[in-house]
Structure formats: C-alpha cells, structure tokens
C-alpha cells in the first residue's frame, strides 16, 4: 500500500476523502456512528428459551451466523448462544437495560458500544474489494443479505454481515484495530476508486 497511504499515520483512521483514480468510486465506505452495541450470551442451557422469548418480544434471534434487522435493532449471531445486538438512537446503558428486561435471567449482557468501529462498504466493486482479504465466499449464491460471519481480514478480527442485497456490508472492527482495517480497505479498493466518509479529516 506504500505510496497511497504513506502520509497517514498508522495510529489514525484513514481520513475521509477519495482514494484511487480521479472521478471513480467503485466502492463507498462510511463509518456508521451512533449505534449502541451489546453482547447477549445465553446462560447455560438457555439459548433456545432465550431465542424464543426474545422473538416473542419482537427481537428476532437466530442461533446461527445471521443478521436480522427490525426497525430498531439488528441481531447478529457470533457464536452458539451468543449475539451482538445493535440499536440505533440509544445509549449502551439503555440498550442493556432494555435487553435485560426482555431476557431476564436467561442471558448475560455486556455493553460493547465503545469497543468497535462499524464501517459500511457498498458499491459495484465492493465484492471485488472484499475478496482481497475476506476468506469467505461472498458470491450471492453463498452469502446473501442477512448472512454474517466472524473472521479475520488482513490480520484484523472482524464480524461482518450483509445488510443489503445491493450489496452492502457492515464490518465491525475492534477500536484499536480500526486504523489497520481501514488501511487495508482503502488500499484494496483504490484501484476501483473509493469514497470514504465519516472517519474525520485526519
């Protein structure tokens, strides 16, 4: 990635802007802000009960690597009996309280609202870009809207899910790894042109 990002400190998010050939934006990426995030883990032996209970309460949980969205929430399976719950327009504390009231003693909750950076990647060349680091088959026949995966991209652990058939993908990356992730993303998308937003001016 030598020259392209030579000026960007490795400790900073790649600043917003356009990278790659002038006037091309085969890929768009933006930081998604303002989401509260929690891990929800079923207590021993309670995964099925929990899923049933929350589904009944309008919060769909699938015990599989799937992302399901309702108006207010997205639930993402990250392991057996474990989910990430994302909520818009809420604080982490409020999300925990809300989920706690739904789950009762069937689950434990941990606030992760500050632990991650969420980046949405879209555009006609999104798949070709992601192929440069994601070792999961993203062909529509294998991975479609609503599918999720926890994996490693360019030495950075990620959880991502396809949020739209367009396609649009959302990547959740641990905060301290976010600069490295964005370096990879920007460099990989540069040949197609990438418009990056929401990461600050640098």
């Amino acid at each position: 990635m030598s020259d392209l990002l030579a000026h960007v400190p490795h400790t900073r998010l790649v600043p917003e802007g356009s990278y790659g050939p002038e006037g091309k934006a085969g890929v768009r990426a933006r930081q998604v802000l303002g989401l509260a995030v929690a891990t929800l883990t079923a207590r021993k032996g309670k995964a099925a009960d929990l899923a049933r209970r929350l589904c009944a309460a309008g919060l769909p949980l699938v015990d599989a690597p799937k992302a399901v969205s309702t108006m207010a929430f997205t639930t993402i399976g990250t392991g057996p009996g474990r989910w990430l719950i994302l909520a818009e327009g809420m604080t982490g504390t409020a999300l925990l309280a809300h989920l706690g009231s739904l789950a009762g003693a069937d689950a434990t909750l941990t606030d992760q609202s500050d632990a991650n950076l969420i980046v949405e990647v879209t555009g006609p060349d999104a798949r070709a870009t992601l192929a440069k680091g994601v070792a999961v088959d993203l062909h529509p026949s294998a991975f479609g809207a609503g599918d999720a995966a926890t994996t490693v991209v360019s030495h950075v652990g990620v959880t991502f899910w396809q949020s739209d058939a367009a396609p649009a993908y959302r990547f959740m990356v641990a905060r301290s790894f976010a600069p490295a992730f964005l370096r990879w993303l920007t460099a990989s998308a540069a040949e197609f042109g990438i418009a990056l937003s929401g990461t600050g001016r640098g």
Binding site: T41, K44, D114, S141, A142, A180
Partner: protein
Amino acid sequence: MTRLSTGGLIDRSRTLSFTFDGVAYTGHPGDTLASALLANGVRLVGRSFKYHRPRGIFTCGSEEPNALVELRTGARKEPNTRATTVELFDGLVAQSQNRWPSLEHDALSVNQWLTPFLGAGFYYKTFMWPASFWEKVYEPTIRRAAGLGAASELVDPDTYEKAFAFCDVLVIGSGATGLAAALAAARSGARVILADEDFRLGGRLLTENVAIDGAPARDFVARAEAELSSLPNVRLMPRTTVFGAYDGSEYACVERVSDHVAVPAAFQPRQRLWRIIAKRAILATGAFDRPIVFPGNDRPGVMTAQALATYAQRFGVGAGANAAVFTNNDAGVAAALAAANAGLTLEAVIDVRDALPSPLAAKAKALGVRVITGGEVIATKGKRLSAITVRTKSGTQTLAVEALGISGGATPNLNLTCHLGGKPVYREDIAAFVPGAVPPGMSCAGAVAGQFSLSDCLNAGTEQGAAAAADAGFARAAAPAPKAEETPTGIRAFWQVKAKGDLAFVDLQNDVSAKDVGIAHKEGFRAVELLKRYTTMGMATDQGKNSNMAGLALMAELTGQGIAATGTTVFRPPYTPVALGVLAGHHREKDFRPTRPTPTHAWAEGQGAVFVETGFWLRAAYFPKPGEKDWLESVNREVKATRESVGVIDVSTFGKIDLQGPDVGTFLDRVYINMFSTLQVGKARYGVMLREDGLVMDDGTTARLADTHYVMTTTTANAGKVFQHLEFCLQVLWPELDVQLASISEQWAQIAVSGPRSREVLAKLVDGHDVSNAGLPFMGVAQTTVLGGIEARIFRLSFSGELGYEIAVPARQGERLMETIMEAGRPFGITPYGTETLGVLRIEKGHVSGSELNGQTTARDLGLGRMASTKKDYIGRVLSQRPAFQDPARPIFVGFKPVDKAQRLRAGAHLLTVGAQATTHNDEGYVTSVAYSPTLGHFIGLGFLKRGLERIGEQVRAYDPVRGSDILVEVCSPAFVDPEGEKQRV
C-alpha cells in the same frame, strides 16, 4: 534479422523498443523478450552456472533453463527472469547475467577447461587441506562464484496484493483441453475460473497447424474465449500461474497484473496472490517437449522442437536463418513441419526411428522437407550454433544450421499433482510419467494425463469439465466436444546419443552432464533423490522440468533397473518460481502487522510522547520536556512527580474480561491459585494463574462487581492467551459451570492516577461518589459516573505502590477523561508518564512483570507461593508440586543493589558467587529487570538467585560480559520502596 515475413500473433503495425546488454532492438506487441531477441538475431543470451558455457534460448515457456536475464534496472531489477515468459513492453531493459566482464568474453569460462576436475561431488572431496584455508581462501572463492543473477539490494518499490476466490470448477491451463473443459463446465452453470500462466489463452493451439470443427485452431481459441468472457459465471485469469496445490482444495496462484508494463499503473499492484478454493479442479497443463542428451546439446541455437515451432508460428520468428529438428517422436516431426509451414528454412528432420508414419512422411514431402531417418546428432559446432554432425548407418554428415530443434518426447506437466504427495507413474507406451494419485477434487485431462492427440484432449476436456460441474451439483450441459483430426503420437523411447566428444548435458542450467550421472552411479548415489542431491540435477530454476527424465533414464540404464523402478524426484511448490514480495502482499514495512493505538494516543502525541511498540500496541514510553537531555532525565522526573505528587498513565492495553454467571466464583477458584469466590462485592484482588504444568501463566487483578459478575484484568501480552485458556476451561474441562465470558478490552479506556495527591484529583472527577479512604478503601471498586454522567468503574489499585486509582470509562470517553484528569491535576503538577516510568515504579516496589513471568518461573520462584490456597484444587496445582519445583536450590525472586552505588546494573547479567569461576556450572541466577531508582539515587535490580532468600545481605557478582560489565551487588528484598505497602493504603 530472422523475423519471418508474415504470420505470428504479433502486432506488426506497432514497434516496441528495448535493450539487451545495452544494445537497442525492436519488437512487436505479442512478442516475448525471447522471441524479440531471436527476431533480432540475438542467440547468445547467457552463461551456464558452473562452466560458464555460452547459452541461448532453449524453450518458449516457463520451463526455460538457459535464457535467464536481469530484467529492468535499479530497485526494480529482477534477476533470473526467463526471457521466454517476459512480455515485451516499450522501454524494456534486460542484461545478461553470470558473466564478467561481458557475455561475449566471460573470464570464468576458463572453468570449462577445469571440467575434468569439477565433476559431481567434487566439492566434498577437496578444499580440506590445509584446514585453515577453507575459511580464508576456498569458501570465499566458492561463494563468490555461486549464484546466477544479482539482487538489486534496494527496497522493492512496487506493491502486492492478496485475494481469495471461490469456485465450483477451477481449470488450470487454457490449451485445447482447458478451453474445452471450461466451456463444458461453464455451460452447465457452474462457477468456473480458467487460469493460464500465459498472457494469451490457447496453449499449444497457438502453435499447431490443426483444424478444430473445420476451422483453424486459432479460430476455436477466439470463439471459446469470446463465449467464456461473455458468461457471468466465468472468470478468465490469463497471466495467472497456479503454483501450488494445498489442503482443502486450495490452489495458490500468482497473477502478474503489471509485469507486462514498464511500471505498474497507478493504484495497481505489480502482482496479486490468489488463494482459490475450488470444489473441483481440472488440471489441463499440457506437456513439455523434452531434450535428448548428446554432445554439445547446450549450444545457443539448440532448443526444443516445440520452441522452434512456437517461435515460427506464434511469433513469426525464425530461431536461426535455417534449422534442423532432431527427434524420436511424431509430435517432434509435426513441430518441425509447423515451423517450416510458417516459413522457417528447415534443412532436415532427423529422426532416430527408421521410418515416419505415412501421414507425416507425406506432409514432409509436400513441404519439401528432407527427412533423415535412423539418424542421430552426435556433435554441434559454434559459440552460436553453426553446424551439426549427423550420424546414420551410412555414415556421418555435417549440416550447417543456426538452429536445432530437439524433441525427445513429451513430459506431462504434472507438477501440481505431486504437491500433496502424489507419485507419478511411468507409462512405457508413451515413454512418460503420468499423474499418479492426485489431490482430492482434482482430475487431469489432456496432454498432462498422457492424452497427446488433439481430439483426445478435446474429448477429455469436455468430458471432465462436465463431470466436474456435475460433481459440484450442476446439471450436465449437452454440448458435444469440438472435433479435430487425429494427430499422430508415436514415439520410440530414446534418451541419449552414445557418442564421444563434447559434454552431453542433462541439466542445462546446473551443468550436469551424462558423465556426472556416471560418477554418481559409481559412488553409490543411485536412488534418484541421491542422484539429484549429489549432482544437483533438477535443482535449478526449472526444477528438472527439462532434465529429470533424461537423468533418471540414464541412471536406470546404468543400474539396469528400468525407468518405472527408478522413479522420479518429487515436485514441490511452487510450480514456477514466485516473487517473494507477492507472498507477503501488503504486509510489509509498517503494515507488517496492525498498529494498535490506545484510546489516548492522539492526546499523548500532543504531549510530545515518545512511543514504544509493545506487541501490536503503541504505548507512550515517556514524555520528554524541552531541555531534558535524555530519556533517563525525563523518566526520573516522571517517577519523582508520581511518588511526590501525582502521575497519570493510560493502562487500557491490559486485557479485560467480563465474567458473568452464578458459577464465576467457583470458576475463578479453579483457574487462580488463590480464592475468588470469597471476594466481597465491590472489592478487587490480585490473582496468579498457572498453566497446567505448574508454571505461572499470568497475573492481574480481578474485581467483583456484583454477586455473579466479575471483571478480570490480564497482562497486555497475555490478553488473548488467557481468554482462550478460560474458554478451554469452560468448554472442555468444566462444561457444567454456568459462566459467560466477554472480552471488554476494547470497550473500556482505563487510566491510572497514582501518587499521594491522586485522591484529590479523583475527587474532582467523580459525580459525588465518596472517594475517601473509607468510602473507597484500598482494593475497593466503585461503579459510578464521572465528568457529569459518564459511566465509570474506579478500582483502587496500585502498581506503583502509591495511593492510586484506575478509572475505566467507555473507550470513546478516554481522551476526554485524560484531559479532564490533567486539568484537575494541574494544581498538583500532575505528570503524565509512560511505560518506562511504569517500569521504574514497579521495580522499586518489587512487583513482578513480563520479565519475571517468563514462563519459566513458578509462583514459589516469584515469592508468591504463599498466595496459593491449600483448600482447593486449581489448574497447575498438582504439577507445581514436582520435585524440581520444590528444590530449595531453585533460583528465587530477590532484589539487588550495586555495592558501589555509582555503578550501573543491567538486566540479563548472570549471578556468580564472589570468587567463583565464570562457568555454566557456577551460574546461580540472573537479573531480570533493572531501573535507575530516582527515589534511592542508584540502580536497582530484580532477579532470580539460587537460595536467594537465605542470601539477603550477601554480595554476589552480576556478570554481564556482553556489555563489558562485572560488578558486585548486594542481595536484598525486592521491595525497595515502602516495603510494608503503607503508602498505597492511606
């Protein structure tokens, strides 16, 4: 100039300029460097490895052993580049290599006259007398002569990428077979990738004078390519070499994105590494023409018949003004005729067989080509080939030719079938090894499978393409295989011309001759693998593609064992040499591994911090102030400020684990040596964890936030390891426990405020929580809010030994918290400090850290043995009681101070009893951590000393010869400052 007047898949309307050894030439788009050199009449292009014999272009593909050049210049110089695979571009610069002072007059070609001495194994038998000459004379000389091209020694300026692809069917090779396979698979709807190392699809179809479906083969290629590119389920990957087969149906490939241009276009890598995961793979990699061993078979101008034909047909180039072909098989004759057909002046076809099959004989006759049957080439002449001597039953004759095509038969290009351990199998009928066991999911079709006739190739490709798609779950498409006329494929096995004279080469690049095979045989190196290693046959950059068959056939003849029993050596990845840079992708220089900034990184930068790598993290090491002359001065200031007033440091890098559930207490009791189930809510406790082998794994504090809710901290270095260990315990050892884990390392920023004034600082931050000694006692934990509503966890802990707090807030608030702390602390002269000061503070206190928790120490060694509970079992308890770990003579944790306080102590010094000799036997321990203690005004150290606790007050030697230091130190308690721990409890 030997460019033929017409023909070739080159664009004659455009001219490209290039230089070779400084001389300017021109060629056309579609040329390779090799074809362009030949077109310009350049035939001498290199020197051989050992004897420095003149060498030319031997093949037309990636198996080239001779025509290796240094391509490009400066930092982009690429040594050992095969001229036969370099696509010509405007401005290309190439140099010959392994010669001095020039290619034409190479000084080391004197080695040719030493050939009587320089046989196989020569090195092992000599250079031993006198012994001291080896280092001084022989070895440097040998090393200087070794190698082929020279590296630039400059940083590679280009970039590389990695990528993954998934498909139903991967077709490797785009000759007749591969195209047919790809079409059949693609038409059924399967996701197909067709990869070919060449820049043009078509394989041998670009060379052969054959018809498919009634039209010239090249039309078939064009039609196939058009159809395949129109299909959305097909990805065509020209310029892509599949170089390795790996487990899980994974194929490693390198795509040469920009090697055909002078400099990669903006935002384009030079090359891309692909890892293709294919449900099925079809190997359609064809076969190579192999050489025949005869005296002088290495002269520039001698090449494979396939190459001769390819230069003529595909590139419109005559490899010489005129040529002959020497062969033992029908394809060799066909190649000769194809070359003649393209306009090459063909003087004769010499075939060892007594007659040609009639269709070929007729074709030759029609073209007016002279055929010498029952003939053998027994000698060649010229620094560049000028003549060959042909022997027949009726005598010898000399033919003046500039090029000689040789074909000893086809060697299936089965390299990739061997990568998972498959062993090729010999077939007498075609005198060739064909694939044996193949990697799971792979099948072989066409010439690589020993199917040498074009119609067989097309049929096999079509059949297997359809079958592969069907295996992957797609309905077979009904399209028939393309039709071609039968091509003759007869051969008479023939390996070596028995004739005296010049050296007859087996391995052209490594200068292994038939004679060397004889020496290996005499000395007992008869197994092929020993033959290879003793003579270096097959170890050159072509990996024996040209040489192995002949070499083992010669050995088989000497042993009388037969070729099948002799076997062949193993092919290993890569199929052809791969640039090292592409295997690294962009993970180089600073992007080698991620850099993890702490939540307050930007703030620390603003404070002028100097940073240090700790694992992937970048942490502030110290905060120099203007006028300070070195780091020590800054650190001394930071230490003093913290001990006397208040200091602040970001400790977010510690691992933090959230543990919830009714069984957490029980669980922690089992993983820590001390008790945690008894810990009160709102309290924290220091804990030590062992590995099952009884040695210390990690330490840290764990707090109880609620009855069923704990939060654990681990060391920065072991965060991942501890989490994994806890998951193992829960999922494997004790699945009955109801405990849920979550890593919260990234969620919380944690900032330590230490020093006598820290409480006053804290009081200004909290939203009304009582932080008095009673309200938040030592080891107490408060869950509250700070800075007007920010959720916070405050732990009253002390690594520094001072009154201290660690304040955790959600990570996004970390920087704000730090700024507010600085503001609140300003009246006290609050001082930010880094890892250096952290180290000094803890060494002064005698707290263990990474250097002591080195995986070789027990809790007892560390002076923490008393923490171990005797009331319960825990991981590591049983094995920690092994005799060696209970040995009273084991080095144990103590402190050291220099007897002469002005002296500097260093970590890594070993400890010796005064007066004892400096030997391993007398080694009594070592110093692990050292600091200059501004509090005490001298250096202090921690470490392990045999029977250390009994020796407090004794003087020992701290022996550090690697740094030229050897000083007396006094053994003391590791707690240098406030040994009773009063300061942290105030």
